[in-house]
Symmetry: C3
Subunit: 269 residues, 3 copies
């Protein structure tokens, strides 16, 4: 699978990504998008989110510090994006931590058609109704309960489903891919998953409308791999989480498409 | 035009700048103000913004992630600042992107008297009712439609008007200055314009009350030039947008007034 | 007093700290907690703050950019934490700057039982009703009005009280400690006090329930000293406030418990 050309397309077309995201990562998500070459816009007012989502190349919704006003903004923007054929990425941050988060996430995935659903393994298990608590995806195999549930959900909904961790799983409902790039420092900065969600918006923002889930999945694999390769390169120049964060933006900015293809560790599971 | 003494005045008097700004740049605007030597305060509650604006040296309003509650806070604070003789800087971020933004910006400039209006060229064109879309100011000449409209607006309102880009235009309604400092990395970090808006608050916060627009314009030219010279110096030590952002704060902190005067590229247009 | 073992306990137990904090420092507070080895969560919705506070190891409340909705969230979360035996840290940012802030802070300390009250000296003077304005704690002696008022308040309420500055004062109502670590660059970055408030949450989050104020005070002294020693080390590698902030997170991440004990400058006042 060639991935670098997706990064080149983002750089060339500078897709406008409308983010409704959490208060922790507003700045870093915008900076990640700028660094990769996309155009971020953050807009929350009920009075304008439908307009903004409709002119965007993608809409990225993140539930991190949800309040009812923001949830309603996500719903309005999500429906407008659906009407306009703009792909929607959803990150149900913290689903399962409180009943309010769980209900809200379930309401949103019922009301808005998603191009991409991204969460960590524990959140994904809650959302897909798996029993028990999943602490990480390090030990998951592709025939374990979670990847199988993700694949079934993806097939049913026509949505790309991504569970991230030390190993990332991506499925379009037909295949499951395992992605092995990345660095442990990502778990020592806040919003590393949220930045990825924003970047997924940039990559699906350059997928031609009407493409199959398989094509969206390929763009998503390119997003995850570009981000994780950038993290690997940033870690070499970092002395801890603070300098890593600065270097991660630098790496996203300087990352060559050919480097993504050289270093990608992607396989069918 | 000597500019460095304005920076020295900011350092000496540490003006309190009350910011009502967007969620993306709240942290970076506060840090830019601290780095240059001013005192930032962020306050949004309708219950306190009039009190806070009245005791501040300047009020900086930024429309980036506007919601109705914040817009009303801007109006309350702006009117209190007007009553107390506190200069107001306004940044109509994203005006033109949605009808809501355009209406809100027009309402605010009707309801609040501004000391400084700052936007990029495209936003400024929308706000001043120019037809067509202006993508950048690189190619603008001072007798082009936008600078002429800015000058007319400044003269009518007694407001300094600034359009930023690869070249920045500043007018007090009588003269138009062209400012040529800066670095392209500024466009790869989020909130670079918003940080400048906050810094404009610091510089107009040390202008004596009752000064002419020409004096306010000089302080604004000093703010833009100080910021852009700091960016030039930061870029030399940066490896991309992440390290640039850290180095930009360092440069604002260490910038010498004499360096601003040495490196300033300011001319009457 | 041995302090390093508290840092080791934070690293080992990764306490979940629920933060209701201000818009300026949301990202940096989360990153400081991750860097020290704790788990941050930011949650504001009235619908979930009681649930979240109840499952947290500590609740950190920060009044920086208060609006009525956030104040109510603090009250709901604070009461839930009190019911669940979860220690509460409160930072009355800007109390005294406007009547609204002063009233809100007084309401909150009446409605919520605090494990720790932290402010700078000026804010603490306002809150404890001392006349006049205190500009810094550099010149304070332990028998001055402020430390004596802090001690009396701590004894009355069973709360650890901390006033930070170039010298920090900590009291459990019986003793007053003077802490002399730290670096002047802390005052050139925004949210340096707010990051400490978040870290205090991590350290009191590993204090066994039912411990005496003296034990909570020791954990607080460990938090303040760990943070200030990290700042000292970060300053050696910084070129200004921007690189300092990145290096501060690096230092919190790499700080050894034994280094805290070696470099601690703590004495009974």
């Amino acid at each position: 699978m060639q991935l670098g050309h997706w990064l080149a397309a983002v750089r060339q077309r500078r897709p406008l990504v409308h983010n409704i995201t959490n208060l922790v990562v507003t700045n870093t998500a915008a900076n990640a998008l700028l660094s990769i070459g996309a155009s971020p816009v953050m807009a929350y007012a009920h009075e304008e989110v439908a307009d903004m989502a409709s002119i965007a190349a993608a809409l990225a919704l993140n539930m991190g510090t949800l309040i009812p006003e923001t949830v309603e903004a996500m719903r309005i923007a999500g429906r407008a994006a659906n009407s306009a054929g703009v792909p929607v990425v959803f990150d149900p941050v913290g689903v399962g931590a409180t009943p309010y988060r769980t209900e809200t996430a379930k309401d949103l995935i019922r009301d808005v058609k998603l191009a991409v659903l991204r969460a960590n393994a524990g959140e994904m298990s809650v959302l897909l109704g798996l029993p028990g608590q999943v602490k990480g995806v390090d030990a998951l195999a592709a025939d374990d309960a979670l990847p199988m549930a993700m694949k079934a959900y993806a097939a049913e909904k026509g949505t790309v489903v991504i569970a991230t961790g030390a190993v990332d799983f991506v499925t379009d409902g037909e295949n499951i891919w395992q992605l092995a790039n990345g660095h442990s420092l990502l778990s020592s900065i806040t919003g590393s998953g949220c930045m990825l969600t924003a970047l997924l918006g940039a990559f699906v923002g350059v997928v031609p409308e009407g493409s199959t889930p398989a094509t969206f999945a390929e763009a998503c694999i390119a997003a995850v791999t570009s981000y994780n390769v950038a993290a690997e390169q940033a870690a070499k120049l970092a002395h801890g989480p603070g300098t890593f964060q600065a270097r991660l933006l630098d790496s996203l900015y300087t990352l060559e498409p050919s480097t993504v293809d050289e270093l990608a560790r992607v396989q069918l599971a």
